[in-house]
């Protein structure tokens, strides 16, 4: 396999946008292309990650549409739909093309424009990834799967609502240091949990999860430029290598899993990514997790191998995952504060890691970070892509 490098990364602000879907994708793509500064080097292929445009934006064939906007013809182009893991899946497609020698420079752009529909329709569009007969017909939505998962994990491992609140507080704090983040507001334990008015500020969504346990619904796009080793050397940019990618699947219906509290696909995808990179979780300096719900940051931090099972909330409590902690998790603000334009999320993870490894994450830079890990969690954990980026000298 040929080595693959990230030569550039860029994104739009996440939040509510007046821009069209393709405008969002174009702006993120141009910022990544400018960052990569390819000069005369052509883009051989474009891969777009998106989950819902066919349904909520009435647009299909996004790869072709983006090539046209960017006048990158005759570059190859396609779109990847893999639920909330579309972003990292699209990156994987680009990496495979270069690793196989079929391309030398690939643009990967994730995009979602969700705020055009109301909350009910938005929730329903995402719920369509659940099992149609065994889950969806009962009124199952993603928050409800997360709520049932949270109650079970809390009961089994002693996680409390204050731990969930700690995830939100940390990620909101980080989000205020990221100008691209959707939510630019800090929250306090009093405001969302302990004060009498907390129940008003932070109403239940899917018990035991409340509003501040759930990511916002966002519009946005994120983009990276992948290149071969020859091009990376020609560009003389920091060499950020895609050192490992792992992917694993699990049962569609959550209730069919042997242990519904075990994020097995996260575990297997992470092991595969670390194995490909030839490193282990203890070598990682900075982590981006898929905290669509606060409980997921805790559970993924264990399944990925950073903390023993049932101890993620204790590491969080000790401050180990803060920006100034031993293993900062979600310096970008995470999905919780940065936002979650579904198709863009997996790419945005790698945008943040690229900036961190290049020392360009102004205001939230992890000192001397050289290895980054990201977990893009699709379905409710039934399709997970883990990625390891490493800075080479």
């Amino acid at each position: 396999m040929n080595p693959v490098y990230v030569a550039g990364a860029g994104m739009t602000n996440f939040g509510r946008s007046e821009w069209s879907l393709i405008k969002l994708a174009s702006v993120a793509s141009l910022s990544a292309l400018h960052h990569a500064n390819l000069g005369e080097i052509p883009i051989d292929a474009v891969v777009v990650a998106n989950m819902g445009a066919a349904r909520i934006n009435h647009q299909t064939a996004l790869g072709s549409a983006l090539v046209d906007q960017l006048a990158l013809y005759p570059a190859a182009a396609e779109a990847v739909e893999n639920g909330p893991a579309s972003g990292a899946s699209a990156v994987k497609v680009g990496v495979q093309a270069i690793a196989a020698g079929m391309a030398d420079a690939v643009l990967v752009t994730g995009v979602e424009r969700m705020r055009v529909v109301n909350g009910l329709e938005g929730t329903d569009f995402v719920a369509s990834l659940s099992h149609p007969e065994a889950e969806y017909i009962y009124g199952v939505t993603l928050p409800s799967l997360a709520g049932m998962f949270a109650r079970l994990v809390m009961d089994r491992f002693g996680v409390e609502r204050k731990h969930l609140a700690m995830v939100a507080i940390k990620n909101h704090e980080n989000g205020t240091k990221n100008p691209y983040a959707h939510i630019q507001q800090t929250v306090t334990m009093e405001g969302i949990l302990t004060a009498p008015e907390a129940i008003v500020n932070n109403p239940p969504i899917a018990e035991p999860l409340h509003l501040f346990d759930c990511c916002p619904v966002s519009d946005g796009a994120a983009s990276i430029v992948l290149v071969s080793e020859a091009i990376a050397e020609r560009l003389r940019c920091p060499k950020i290598r895609v050192a490992g990618i792992g992917q694993a699947t699990d049962t569609h219906a959550v209730h069919e899993r042997e242990d519904p509290t075990d994020l097995k696909a996260v575990r297997l995808a992470s092991q595969a990514a670390f194995s490909m990179a030839g490193i282990g979780p203890s070598d990682v300096d900075v982590v981006e997790l898929h905290d669509a719900f606060t409980i997921l940051e805790i559970a993924e931090s264990e399944a990925a191998g950073f903390f023993p099972r049932g101890e993620g909330h204790l590491a969080l409590e000790r401050g180990e995952t803060r920006l100034d902690g031993r293993l900062p998790i979600n310096p970008s603000g995470g999905l919780k504060a940065k936002g979650h334009p579904v198709g863009a999320t997996g790419v945005a993870h790698l945008v943040e890691l690229t900036w961190q490894l290049r020392g360009e994450a102004t205001g939230r830079q992890i000192e001397d970070a050289s290895v980054g890990y990201a977990c893009n969690f699709g379905g409710f954990g039934n399709n997970v892509v883990a990625t390891v980026l490493r800075r080479e000298a």
């Binding site: 017909i137 009124g139 049932m148 998962f149 109650r151 519904p260």
Partner: protein, 113 residues
């Protein structure tokens, strides 16, 4: 097939019952099944009260649950119990779980045993 029965798939090779059904048996990779009724007594594995409701619902909240049946199989459905506790004994019943465009959809509901 009856509308008021929820069916799983019993593999004709290894007799493992899957719910929901798969085209290939996750246990032995068999490809031939017979439909079997799913339900009975069990215990409450987990539940949630959903306030951000799915489309088609007009209640204040919906109580959803996963129940572990006596044979170890698990099912997702709606919980009709005012005093839910993890591990509590429940049993399945069939009721209207959704109305889509005027059409009533029947499915699993859980009531105290």
């Amino acid at each position: 097939m009856r509308r008021d029965v929820v069916y799983g798939a019993k593999c004709t090779s290894c007799e493992a019952v899957s719910y929901p059904a798969h085209a290939v048996c996750p246990n032995c990779r068999g490809e031939s099944f017979e439909a079997v009724e799913i339900g009975g007594a069990g215990k409450l594995l987990t539940y949630t009260d959903v306030y951000a409701l799915a489309i088609d619902y007009e209640t204040r909240y919906l109580r959803l649950a996963i129940v572990e049946l006596e044979d170890g199989r698990r099912v997702t459905g709606q919980l009709l119990d005012d005093d839910p506790k993890l591990g509590k004994a429940v049993k399945t019943t069939i009721g209207v779980v959704r109305e889509q465009g005027g059409r009533e959809i029947l499915g699993l509901q859980f009531v105290p045993a």
